[in-house]
């Protein structure tokens, strides 16, 4: 073999390896989906959604976990959306270029890299103990809000950045104030990008387990929470609880609950992708 042939051979060998590497991830994903489908699909029934947890796997359901997840999501959104968008606007439109704005920026990048369990420790000390909110939905949601805040802030900023500065100038030239310009022009024009960021952030929050365990979400909640001050559990914690048990019946329950959780996450991510594409195609300046 001459040099040229070796070169070509190596090139082709890499190509085959690269295709395999690309496939490994996707194959794993496929195996994972098939496996949970095979394990859990037959367990999904109306009763599974409406039953309370139980010591007997065939009678246990995800009602309390599902309701808990909904409660936590809604309250997390209530805190994280306005604060995140507000902070994004502040950084993009108000903060003067200088040490303060670069400090804020580095700070937010750092927060985005803090392991989620650390937020759990923060929530445990501040919300549960210092503010005496207890091991409640409120403590859990506040913790998750802080966790997803960097995602909302960053996507708000990115979305505002895509609005051309000529919009801002046109609005100012008509005598609009700074806030009128932001509220009536910049935010509507950036809304698609901001919405996408919010959905992605919430879908991240839905899958979070560790920080909520630390804040004190319970493994076993035999009642449906009625207010934000009630104790709670969420789907991922219910799954963790079932996976940790030795009986095969609970593993099946876990698989079924995973199907529900995955469906929610996939739907949210899908919605985000569709929204992003529509937003990018709609406005072309």
């Amino acid at each position: 073999m001459n040099n040229e042939q070796v070169k070509t051979l190596k090139n082709n060998a890499f190509k085959i390896w690269a295709i395999i590497a690309t496939s490994i991830g996707l194959i794993m994903l496929a195996v994972l989906l098939i496996k949970i489908g095979m394990d859990g699909l037959h367990r999904l029934s109306f009763d599974f959604f409406t039953a309370l947890p139980s010591r007997r796997p065939e009678q246990a359901g995800i009602l309390t976990a599902l309701v808990g997840t909904l409660w936590v999501m809604v309250t997390t959104a209530v805190f994280a959306i306005p604060i995140g968008i507000g902070a994004g606007i502040y950084l993009e439109e108000y903060a003067r270029k200088g040490w303060w704005s670069s400090f804020l920026e580095i700070n937010i990048s750092n927060l985005a890299g803090v392991p989620s369990i650390i937020y759990g420790l923060l929530g445990l000390e501040i919300f549960v103990r210092t503010l005496h909110l207890g091991q409640s939905i409120l403590s859990g949601s506040l913790t998750l809000s802080l966790l997803i805040l960097p995602i909302v802030i960053v996507s708000t900023r990115e979305a505002i950045k895509t609005v051309p500065s000529t919009m801002r100038e046109a609005s100012y030239a008509l005598g609009a104030s700074k806030w009128q310009t932001i509220w009536m022009q910049m935010l509507p024009a950036a809304s698609g990008g901001i919405m996408t960021g919010i959905i992605l952030a919430l879908s991240r929050a839905i899958g979070e387990t560790a920080p909520l365990i630390v804040v004190g979400a319970l493994m076993y909640v035999p009642f449906v929470p009625k207010s934000v001050f009630d104790s709670f559990t969420v789907l991922p914690i219910q799954i963790y609880n079932w996976v940790s048990r030795p009986q095969a019946g609970f593993i099946i329950n876990a698989a079924a609950a995973i199907i529900v959780l995955m469906l929610i996450t996939i739907l949210m991510n899908g919605a985000a992708v569709i929204l992003r594409n529509r937003w990018q195609n709609r406005v072309k300046w």
């Binding site: 270029k97 100038e169 046109a170 008509l174 005598g175 609009a176 009536m184």
Partner: protein, 286 residues
Amino acid sequence: MSNIKKTSTKRQSEIVSAESTTAINEKLLGKNPSKPMKKIEIKNVHCWYGDFHVLRDIEMAVDPNTVTALIGPSGCGKTTFLRIFNRMNDLIEGFRLEGEVMIDKKDIFSRELRVNELRKKVGMVFQKPNPFPKSIFENVAYGLRVNGITNKKIIAETVEHSLKQSALWGEVKDKLHKNALGLSGGQQQRLCIARAIAIEPSIILMDEPTSALDPISNSKIEELIYDLKQKYTILIVTHNMQQAARVSDRTAFFYLGDLVEFDETKTIFTNPKNEKTQNYITGRFG
């Protein structure tokens, strides 16, 4: 629709819009609308971007209801000069101005004057058409809404009146609630003019308003400028010598931050006093 009916509705709308104009003026200027601001005088004006001295010792007086063309090679400071009058330069970090800028004997940089009040009275049309990504109607209505006008009837009438003034009404009256970004470039620019005049300014600044447009749209806008002169004082930056000659009463030639010559347009183009002006208008540089 019969012809007669058309005329009558048209007249009606003109009457109504005259009323609404007063209403807007009251809202914008207070109960006692004094003589609208129109006359511009500036003295010893210097401008800087950081350390860069963009405009040096400018002095100029602009009469009401005239069109003044600002010409000069790129980077000569004419756009900066234009943006002095609605203080758009303030948005740029590091911008600094010294000197006196008076509109109707009032210093527009004084502390008492609110910058958004000033911008209501000094409208602006930009180089590239920049309609908001909203409906045609909302584009024109925006200036009214941000100035606190909520009466739907007045808004609708003003929108119609402004679109008529900017010669766009006929083309868009059936699609007022369609997105403005669907209009052609020339239509978009006329929409931007309608948007600017909807809040009844007294001065209109135009920054190369036709440079991004085709020749037909260009001539429509030039005609429009001629009509608008009856009501407004207009300052227009242009790179197009013919345009300056066609639309303006007086012309100012800027070169490297200096106001080299300012005179009747006819004089500038036929008998300039300065050699640099002569060279520029005959196309020897620029």
